[in-house]
């Protein structure tokens, strides 16, 4: 990090710095908010998918047990 700062040009950060930082921070925040929303949606899809898988498993077990209880002729 110190090596990077050593090669960095001397920038007039006292005046323009906060504005430039604000612009780039806005961009990063927008990106993070969007990715956060997408992440929440993805986890909801995963939750629903595992609920569906559980439901299918339950039905399979039920039908198996029903088949076992049927009298063999």
């Amino acid at each position: 990090m110190s090596a990077i700062l050593a090669v960095a040009p001397a920038l007039p950060l006292h005046k323009a710095g906060p504005y430039v930082a604000a612009a780039y921070i806005v961009f990063v925040v927008l990106l993070l908010v969007y990715l956060g929303i997408m992440g929440r949606r993805t986890s909801r899809t995963e939750r629903e998918l595992s609920a569906l898988r559980r439901e299918l498993e339950r039905r399979r077990v039920e039908s198996d047990s029903e088949r076992e209880q049927e009298p063999v002729l």
Binding site: A8, P12, A23, V26, L52
Partner: protein
């Protein structure tokens, strides 16, 4: 017709890695390579973020219009979904462009907004126009009708964008700087390279986020169909939504 016919997630990882690499290169060039602007100084660094965001937003609106043409021509609703995502993403990039531009205006001109500048006002008009796209979709319950009306809107809006751009370029009185022209503009080589890499990075980000959203929407639709098949009609019931369903 097939909203989920494509595997949108394919190649997403490679695209995301290319985006990260290009954006990292762009940031390095902006802060360690591009010289300080003789007139504006350090504040001009916002240019490498603000202009690509605004360009991608406008290109996204046009792309949304072109994809809507494909939907109207074929009737295939996958084009409607692509058009929806292109416009949705362009709106997000447009908001980014507006906010960063406003910060730059405050630092450079001393005002957050200048109503006299045709570039600013025309961009705001385009943004406000496309801000009505989602409410329009939400107001229509029937998915087929929603897709058709939204496509017509997207085509008209998409055609309005280049027209608006040309009119603004022809405007005489402006305070917005003109650094990109067909004859090469007045950017020096190092600044031009930095700008090109930044624009490529933002374009890749746009493509990545579009693919991500398409992939997520496609998964949701597949899941809903599966639920409907397994658990019956009520389980797969989709609430009214602005997004294609």
């Amino acid at each position: 017709m097939g909203l989920i016919s494509d595997n949108y997630g394919r190649g997403l990882r490679v695209l995301a890695l290319a985006t990260i690499a290009t954006l990292a290169a762009a940031l390095s060039l902006v802060f360690f390579y591009a010289p300080l602007d003789a007139d504006q100084g350090f504040i001009q660094k916002i240019f490498y973020l603000h202009v690509p965001l605004a360009i991608m937003a406008l290109c996204g609106f046009v792309l949304g219009g072109l994809l809507a043409v494909a939907h109207l021509r074929t009737g295939d609703r996958k084009w409607d979904m692509r058009s929806y995502v292109a416009i949705h993403m362009a709106l997000i990039f447009g908001v980014g462009g507006l906010i960063t531009g406003s910060i730059w205006a405050k630092a450079s001109w001393g005002h957050w907004w200048v109503w006299e500048d045709p570039t600013l006002v025309s961009f705001l008009i385009v943004m406000l126009l496309f801000a009505t796209y989602q409410p329009l979709r939400f107001s229509i319950e029937d998915p087929e009708r929603q897709a058709r009306y939204a496509s017509v809107f997207a085509v008209v809006g998409g055609a309005f964008v280049p027209m608006n751009f040309i009119v603004v370029r022809l405007a005489q009185g402006f305070v917005h700087p003109r650094v990109l022209t067909l004859t090469g503009g007045n950017l020096p080589g190092s600044m031009r390279l930095t700008f090109t890499v930044s624009l490529t990075g933002i374009a890749l980000l746009y493509a990545t986020l579009c693919r991500l959203e398409l992939s997520a929407k496609s998964s949701r639709i597949q899941l809903r169909r599966l639920r409907r098949e397994v658990l019956g009609e009520a389980a797969g019931f989709a609430r009214r939504s602005a997004a294609p369903s």
